[in-house]
């Protein structure tokens, strides 16, 4: 019996690619890969608006914002779909991925803006009541 692993680099590449690009894996991560591609579009758009930065910082920014968008897209879409009956969460995934990646580095300011707008609306409503 020969249990020695084959250390030929080409054989290793073949095995790694067979696992990485398998149909079984694609069935599981396929939808998430599409969300990731859309998140890359959003984060690259945001990156192009930021001041000039180094290659390393660009890579870190793209990776972090895309990862954040990847994690938050499905919960955020479900949240929006729960409030808007006409929408299904699946319809929102790609748009939400782009949006979340685009605002990823401005989330605190964005949240403050939304809260301020909601508070303003609530205050105006209470002021008009007799």
């Amino acid at each position: 019996m020969n249990n020695q692993p084959n250390l030929d680099p080409l054989e290793v590449i073949k095995v790694v690619m067979a696992v990485m690009m398998s149909q079984q894996l694609a069935a599981v991560v396929g939808p998430y890969s599409l969300i990731f591609i859309m998140a890359i579009i959003g984060s690259a758009t945001r990156l192009s608006e930021r001041p000039r930065t180094s290659r390393t910082n660009s890579f870190v920014f793209l990776t972090c914002t895309s990862a954040a968008s990847l994690v938050l897209t499905v919960p955020a879409s479900n949240l929006v779909a729960a409030y808007v009956d006409a929408l299904k969460a699946e319809w929102l995934f790609l748009v939400m991925a782009v949006f979340l990646a685009y605002i990823a580095d401005r989330v605190p300011g964005f949240v403050v803006t939304i809260i301020t707008a909601m508070l303003g609306k609530w205050l105006r409503r209470t002021e008009t009541k007799p």
């Binding site: 690619m17 690009m21 149909q23 396929g30 890969s33 192009s48 000039r52 930065t53 290659r55």
Partner: protein
């Protein structure tokens, strides 16, 4: 006459395609990071190039497509074009023609 390219293991073709696509995505990502004050149409070129290079590299997962010699050849052509085009980006700066211009002072 029956001419065909030499057969290559599909996994190796996937690997070559992934490497070429990562080169394209890497160059595009670096340039996107230096596009402050660059025209929008130039930004869109590189943003789409970045996203589609990743889609192409991971095609078996994203779109469940197979990769052939034509795909590899095209990815290689784009990678070579971007690398040889680097003379237009001295020190990583966008070419002057790509930068947003201000209206002429009166």
């Amino acid at each position: 006459m029956n001419f065909t390219l030499p057969p290559l293991d599909p996994q190796l073709m996937l690997f070559i395609n992934l490497v070429l696509s990562c080169i394209v995505a890497g160059v595009s990502g670096c340039r996107v990071g230096r596009m402050h004050q660059v025209l929008w149409r130039v930004r869109i070129q590189y943003i789409l190039m970045l996203a589609m290079a990743l889609t192409h590299g991971f095609a078996p997962i994203v779109t469940r497509d197979t990769v052939g010699w034509a795909s590899i050849g095209f990815a290689a052509a784009v990678a070579v074009m971007l690398v040889l085009d680097s003379y237009q980006w001295p020190d990583g700066d966008a070419p002057a023609a790509a930068k947003a211009t201000k209206p002429a002072e009166l």
